[in-house]
Structures are given as structure tokens and as C-alpha cells.
């Protein structure tokens, strides 16, 4: 039995796994103590739960639990990492490097640093969405103190060469921050091997609750940060604020499950994704956005030429997906990520991101393929651009009356 709309937007957020939710509830009602309370058993048990979760999060990425700082989510982690490191190391230099396809939580944070007097370079990506290491090398200056590159892109799902960038940063003595919000449970992360100094995590992209995340802060060699949130000195003074025990327990359990199940789960999800990929690229004039190989197993981003994104979203309201179209955003600008990949506006407008996950079934994928075939056909019958394409007219040579 299919339940509508079919959820294919796991990169936006995931449902909390019922096993995770079950673990969280007692920490709201019975075991409600403040983990910072040192004087009674309520506090002790809460602290123990928080520390167990810290071990679970650290285990997924092969780090030491002492290197994990709790935050409210990846946005806060990115802010703390980038502003915290830039402020602490500003005596060494004022230059920061990031990438045009980063999440806004990174881009806007770097913009804020620019307002404070830092200088920033925003790297272009290649057509496949991956950064070119030579371009990165060329951008490094003697006063570069921080480089921030996301592990997995949220729109097109490409996996950046984090290991290679890490080597480069270590060699040059530059702090390396990685936003891994979209990577946990999808790609293997081994922080003993990767030369990453700071890494941001989110719980709700990996079947945990919203409102909690973590920042990995390397101890060897030690990385220093200037705190952004001041108060009771929690989290070794790096992030004050009473710890949300139930949220943290949820994130710990979610990451524990991810570690245990990711190999099997990703194999199953990849099969479904590839079925979807083959079923949709069957349709004429479709383009996959982002590298197909260097990509997480659950993401598929496709542009359907000559069909506009918002009307497509309306046509496929039986499935819940995201579009790169301007019309679905408040800004009226098409996806800056697809633009950075060199997609023209028209293809950016007609892009759909499908992201499948733990609870996606084959029946749902079959339904989606069938639905897209029908609706793309219907919208193209309506589309004057499709007619022109069929008549062999190159749309780039037409003089459009832009408005």
C-alpha cells in the first residue's frame, strides 16, 4: 500500500527512526535531570547518557569522544568552526577559502567574516560539481588560515576529495573545516586517517531528531576556537548552554544505528537509486546534475529540459521532492549550486532532486518512474520549447524578449 505523498526528500530531512524515538522519550519524562548537575543522581544519569551518546557519535567517524562538541545542528557547528577558527587564528592571517557550492550556513558565515575585515575566495567547481585540486592550490596564499569544503553536496550529492584536500591543508598549516551534514551514514568517515581539523554534523539528516548536531574539534594536533556562545562554560567552554539530553541521546542512537547498518543500507538504497536513475534517464532530453560516480548512493538530481520546475512539482504532487527552480524559492533565483556547475538557467529551473532513504520501497520507486514518464509527457505537450526542440531549433540562437 502506497502512502501519499511519497517522501523522496531525505536530503532535506529524515524521519526519526522509531528505535531512536523510543530511546529519547525516557529522557524527557523520567530522567529529566540536567547533565551539569553534579550534586544528585538525576544529574549523574543524564551526564552518563550524554557521554555515551558522545562515544556513539565519535565511533561513527572514528574520532575520540573528547573531540565531539554538542551544538544545535550543522548550521551552528559551521558558524562555530568558521568564525571560531578565523577569530582565534586571525593573528596568523586574514584569508579564508571556501567553495561556491557550499551550503548557505557556510557561505553566509564566510560573508560575515568578510564584513569583519577578512578576505575570502570562493572556488569554482568543475562541471561535475567537484573541486579541482589545482584550482584550490592556486588559491592558497601565505596568509590563508582556513579552508572550508563540504563532504557531500546537499543538492547534487557529489563527494568532494576530502582526503586530498586534508593532506594539502596539513602540509601548509591551514585549518581544514568540513561540513559533513549530508555525509554521515552515507560515506565512510575515518578521522584518524582524514586530516580534517573541524567537522560539522547534524542529527536530522541521519534519522535523528532536529535541533541537535555536533562539531568535531581535533585534539592532535590541537585546534583552537573562539567560543561564539557564552554562558555556563559547558562543552569545555566552547559552547555554553544546558545540554538537551533527549536530543543528544537521539543523535547518539541514530549514529550508532548508522554505523551498524550503513553498509547494508547503502547497498539497498544504491540499487533503488540506480533503478530510479535508469527509469528516468529513459526519458528523452534529461540530464543528470553532478558526477554520477563520486556521489552518495541516495541522491539523484535530474534536469528535464523544456519543462519548468514549479509546474513539474505541481504535476508530481504525489511525491515529495525538491526543485532547483526559482519558483519554489523565495528568492526567484534558480539554484546557485546548479549555476556553479555551469547549468544554464533553463536547466536549473527544470531540475528535481530525488533523495531516497531508509524507508523507501521499490514500489515507491516504480510509482515515481511511471508518474514522471506520464507528467513529463503531458507538460512537454504544453511546452512551446519542446515543439521548437522537436523542429530542430537551437534555443540558444533564438532572440528572447527577456522580462
Amino acid at each position: 500500500m502506497l502512502k501519499f505523498p511519497i517522501y523522496l526528500d531525505y536530503s532535506a530531512t529524515t524521519p526519526v527512526d522509531p528505535r531512536v524515538a523510543a530511546k529519547m522519550i525516557p529522557w524527557l519524562t523520567e530522567h529529566f535531570g540536567n547533565p551539569a548537575s553534579r550534586s544528585h543522581a538525576y544529574g549523574w544519569e543524564a551526564e552518563q547518557a550524554v557521554e555515551e551518546a558522545r562515544e556513539q557519535v565519535a565511533a561513527l567517524v572514528n574520532a575520540d569522544a573528547k573531540e565531539i562538541i554538542w551544538t544545535s545542528g550543522a548550521t551552528e557547528s559551521n558558524n562555530l568552526a568558521i568564525k571560531g577558527a578565523a577569530h582565534f587564528y586571525q593573528g596568523k592571517g586574514k584569508h579564508v577559502i571556501t567553495v561556491k557550492t557550499e551550503h548557505k550556513a557556510v557561505l553566509d558565515t564566510v560573508r560575515e567574516l568578510e564584513r569583519e575585515g577578512f578576505e575570502a575566495t570562493y572556488l569554482d567547481v568543475q562541471e561535475n560539481g567537484l573541486i579541482d585540486l589545482e584550482v584550490l592550490k592556486a588559491a592558497i596564499r601565505p596568509d590563508t588560515i582556513l579552508i572550508s569544503v563540504m563532504f557531500v553536496n546537499n543538492e547534487v550529492g557529489v563527494v568532494q576529495p576530502i582526503a586530498e584536500i586534508g593532506e594539502l591543508c596539513r602540509e601548509k598549516g591551514i585549518i581544514f573545516h568540513v561540513d559533513a551534514a549530508q555525509a554521515t551514514g552515507k560515506v565512510d568517515i575515518d578521522l584518524e586517517k582524514l586530516k580534517v581539523d573541524l567537522m560539522s554534523f547534524s542529527a536530522h539528516k541521519t534519522y535523528g531528531p532536529k535541533g541537535v548536531g555536533a562539531l568535531y574539534v581535533r585534539r592532535k594536533p590541537r585546534v583552537r576556537l573562539e567560543a561564539q556562545m557564552h554562558g555556563g562554560g559547558h562543552e569545555r567552554g566552547l559552547r555554553s548552554g544546558t545540554l538537551a539530553t533527549h536530543q543528544i541521546v537521539g543523535m547518539g542512537e541514530a549514529f550508532r544505528l548508522a554505523r551498524e547498518e550503513m553498509t547494508e543500507e547503502n547497498a539497498r538504497i544504491r540499487k533503488l537509486r540506480d533503478k530510479l536513475l535508469n527509469g528516468l534517464t529513459d526519458i528523452e532530453a534529461t540530464f543528470v546534475n553532478g558526477d554520477v560516480e563520486q556521489r552518495v548512493p541516495h541522491n539523484l538530481n535530474i534536469s528535464f529540459a523544456y519543462v519548468e520546475g514549479e509546474s513539474l512539482i505541481m504535476a508530481i504532487k504525489d511525491i515529495a521532492v525538491s526543485s532547483g527552480s526559482a519558483c519554489t524559492s523565495a528568492s526567484l533565483e534558480p539554484s546557485y549550486v546548479l549555476r556553479a556547475l555551469g547549468r544554464n538557467d533553463e536547466l536549473a529551473h527544470s531540475s528535481i532532486r530525488f533523495s531516497i532513504g531508509r524507508f523507501t520501497t521499490e514500489e515507491e520507486v516504480d510509482f515515481t518512474i511511471d508518474l514522471l514518464h506520464k507528467k513529463i509527457g503531458k507538460l512537454r505537450e504544453l511546452s512551446p520549447l519542446w515543439d521548437m526542440y522537436k523542429e530542430g531549433i537551437d534555443l540558444d540562437t533564438v532572440q528572447w524578449a527577456a522580462h
Partner: protein, 127 residues
Amino acid sequence: MAYSEKVLDHYENPRNVGAFGKDEEGVATGMVGAPACGDVMKLQIKVGKDGVIEDAKFKTYGCGSAIASSSLVTEWVKGKTIDQALDIKNTQIAEELALPPVKIHCSILAEDAIKAAVADYRKKHQA
């Protein structure tokens, strides 16, 4: 995007989709918009010897309100003379469809499509 019932109706059941033969008597075409902006409307009118629009057809690449605006316009121009058709204003289209403010440009585009089709008709028939 929360659309009105009327937009959804035109989107689900667009009226007068299609195209006339290029060489059909009295047919004129207006194409406005640009793919880069996310909408292109092609409006065709078929004008009788008496100067009355007998039939109209459209094809639109665009969002739901762009499709609805052009579909509505094909209904409205039928039976009007070309001068009467030119009196159709974007505000009337926006009001009829209860377009949200960010979609007003769709109604402007539909008005432009009428003007472009009429201009094409006049160009062909001035000789």
C-alpha cells in the same frame, strides 16, 4: 505555493492547448518570455474576415500560474475583436485567478502575449 481553485483548475485542465497550422488563414502568433526567466508563452489567434477572433490556442513553458494565465486568455479573447482583445489588462487576469503577488508577472506576460499576437496579425494583414 498555495494557488487558488481557478489556477489549479486551469493547470489541471488547460483550455485550448495546441497550435494552428502555420499557413492557416487569419492565424497570428505571439511568443513572449524567455527560457532563462522560467516562462515562455506562445499564443495563437485565428481571426475571421470580420476582424473577430474565432479561435485561440496556446502553449506555455512556465509555472502553474503562467499556464493558468495563458489558458484563461485563450478563453477570453475568443469572440472579441482584436481591438477588444487589446483591452484585456493584466490586472483583470491576476484578479480572476487570484494570483499571489510574486506571480503577477505571469499575468503581465499573458497580456504581452495578446499584444504580440495582435501585432503579428496586423503586420501580416496591413498590406
